[in-house]
């Protein structure tokens, strides 16, 4: 369980000014939850994510991971072991000389037995459609392929908590859905043994709809913490915070506005319709 208590983070710029990036965030994320995080650039999403596993430490307040404080340096290694992070620019986190070895890298460090490691690498190559690139040097992959590789390498380790910081910014919508399905699959597989938590930062509102809970940050504070559908129905508030909403919420709002009728259509009917038509 993640317990975030009155989390403040301040940075000092090199001109000496203090910037308050997070201004008192308090929330709890239970094991096995699937949470999307949205917010404008500069709202504190990435800072928030980096506080979760102690990459950044609170200026004030605390972050407890299963009761362990990120400020306790003795526990930091144990805390980090429980997290897998995927960042926005995949080039920043790829270390190996081939695609296959990149996926194996984390598993090797976790001392996963050889046969099992091979099986997991094969599975990830297949799931992320990277089989034909097995022996490719990662730097020759396209941006989107590299993003898939970064995801595969982290998800292969099956960490207790997955934290994604806009990991799909270079992916087309079909591949994005695939990534989200895989996250769901991993969570389900894990549920029987130890529940896996997924925290997914995104700018793409349709992605947030796949999660049970949506936290919207605005200027370093929690603006909304609700189900995605409820959050997105507050169209004006979301757009004012610089957060886009899926087109159906914008359309509903617009039609209601122009017709004065509050029942033009039900967004959940559209979602049901999409599910029925999904291949």
């Amino acid at each position: 369980m993640l317990d975030i208590k009155n989390l403040h983070v301040h940075f000092t710029t090199h001109q000496g000014a203090t910037v308050e990036v997070l201004k008192g965030i308090s929330l709890t994320i239970e094991d096995g939850e699937s949470v999307a995080v949205m917010g404008a650039n500069g709202s504190g999403k990435t800072t928030f994510a980096r506080c979760l596993n102690g990459l950044l430490l609170p200026t004030q307040g605390e972050v407890l991971v299963d009761g362990l404080s990120t400020q306790d340096s003795e526990q930091l290694q144990e805390i980090r072991r429980r997290f897998g992070m995927v960042f926005q620019n995949p080039e920043n986190q790829i270390v190996s000389v081939t695609v296959e070895r990149e996926i194996a890298f984390g598993l090797e460090n976790l001392a996963v037995p050889h046969d099992e490691m091979h099986a997991i690498v094969d599975e990830m190559l297949r799931k992320f459609n990277l089989e034909s690139y097995r022996d490719h040097p990662p730097h020759l992959l396209s941006g989107g392929e590299m993003q898939r590789l970064a995801l595969a390498a982290i998800m292969a380790m099956r960490p207790r908590t997955l934290v994604f910081d806009e990991p799909t910014s270079l992916l087309d919508s079909a591949t994005r859905s695939l990534v989200l399905e895989l996250v769901g699959e991993l969570q389900q597989e894990a549920a029987a043994k130890a529940p896996m938590t997924a925290i997914f930062i995104t700018q793409i509102p349709e992605e947030a709809l796949h999660f049970d809970r949506l936290i919207v940050l605005s200027e370093g504070a929690v603006l909304v913490d609700d189900t995605p559908a409820t959050a997105f129905s507050r169209v004006d508030e979301m757009q004012q915070a610089g957060v886009p909403v899926p087109v159906e919420f914008a359309m509903k709002r617009h039609l209601e506005d122009t017709s004065g009728d509050k029942s033009v259509f039900d967004v959940s009917d559209f979602h049901e319709w999409l599910r029925r038509r999904a291949p």
Binding site: T13, H14, G39, A40, N41, G42, S43, Q88, N89, S132, H136, P137, L140, L141, S142, G143, G144, E145, Q147, R148, E166, S169, L170, L171, D172, S173, A174, T175, S177, Q203, E206, D236, Q239, Q240, G242, V243, P244, V245, P246, V247, E248, A250, M251, H254, L255, D257, T258, S259, D261, V264, F265, D266, D269, F270, W273, L274, R277, P279
Partner: protein, 310 residues
């Protein structure tokens, strides 16, 4: 400026071995003043195609001609071509380096040996294009900016070379609503000044709100090349090339089927573009200023709405 791509094929090489071709016999003409999107799955060859525009990669077969000049000809001055076609790479903000926004944007023009006054003029103009006021941003460190501002600063650095053609690779990746809106505006502004704009993007819906023509790549081959209107009308082919049907089109289809809903008539391409703009550009801006008149989507949408029985 006219760009003519003829029978272009290309494969990357790794340790002396050619991999599978990334581009296969691509033919494409882009005329002066066009705004063209190149869309496709990751790995479909979008970025590779863009890198051929300024001979950052050399074709294995075929030609890239700019204003009738073959880029492989020894007479072509590539430095000149690269000034006239400005490429904005993926995550261009990672290339910011100077102490101030002004110096970063001025780097290109200074290298053209322009006098200081001309450099300043160009920096002013470029920053105005991307919507960053020079008084407010010029003296700031690029590293103190938000992600969207960084992206715009990097784009301004390319604009300061005053290219006739601006080619951008995934310019909205990772940007928030404000950032996307700012990029949309600068593209529209640059295009309306008569310049050619080429946008590589996986985000079909966004890109349709800023260009007139869409080229769809699949596994290195062109599967579609036509207007946004034609693309919307023929959208059923998109899933066949691995692209998702734009959500806005699905929404219109749902509304047509749903008996209880508004039942709009078939939306015109203009309705769709407006809805996308509403989502991505003018809508939010309009809302913020409380000016809803900027959206005139409505009439054709609600025409067939059943009359309420009272």
């Amino acid at each position: 400026m006219q760009i003519l791509i003829e029978n272009l094929s290309f494969a990357y090489e790794s340790f002396g071995v050619k991999a599978d071709p990334v581009l296969k016999n691509v033919n494409l003409t882009i005329s002066e003043g066009e705004a063209v999107a190149i869309v496709g799955l990751s790995g479909s060859g979008k970025t590779t195609l863009m890198h051929h525009l300024t001979a950052l990669l050399k074709p294995d077969a075929g030609h890239v001609m700019v204003n009738g000049q073959d880029l492989q000809s020894p007479q072509v001055k590539l430095s000149e071509i690269r000034r006239r076609i400005g490429i904005v790479f993926q995550f261009p903000e990672t290339q910011l380096f100077a102490d101030t926004v002004f110096d970063d944007v001025a780097f290109g023009p200074r290298n053209l040996d322009l006098p200081a006054s001309a450099v300043e003029h160009r920096v002013n103009k470029a920053l105005a294009h991307v919507g960053l006021e020079i008084e407010k941003f010029g003296g700031r460190s690029p590293f103190s900016l938000s992600d969207g501002e960084k992206r715009r600063t990097a784009i301004a650095g390319v604009l300061a070379l005053e290219p006739e053609c601006l080619a951008l690779d995934e310019p909205t990746a990772g940007l928030d609503l404000d950032g996307v809106r700012a990029v949309s505006r600068l593209l529209t502004r640059y295009h309306s000044s008569g310049k050619t704009v080429i946008v590589v993007s996986h985000n079909l819906e966004w890109v349709c709100s800023v260009v007139d023509r869409v080229v769809v790549l699949e596994q290195g081959q062109i599967r579609f090349d036509g207007s946004v209107e034609t693309l919307f009308a023929a959208a059923e082919f998109l899933p066949k090339v691995g692209l998702a049907m734009p959500r806005v089109l699905q929404l219109f289809a749902f509304l047509r089927e749903d008996q209880t809903a508004a039942r709009p008539t078939a939306p015109s391409a203009d309705d769709i573009k407006q809805m996308l703009a509403f989502q991505h550009l003018d809508g939010a801006a309009g809302r913020r200023q409380n000016d809803r008149k900027s959206i005139s989507l409505q009439p054709s949408l609600l025409q067939n709405r059943p009359v309420d029985e009272k």
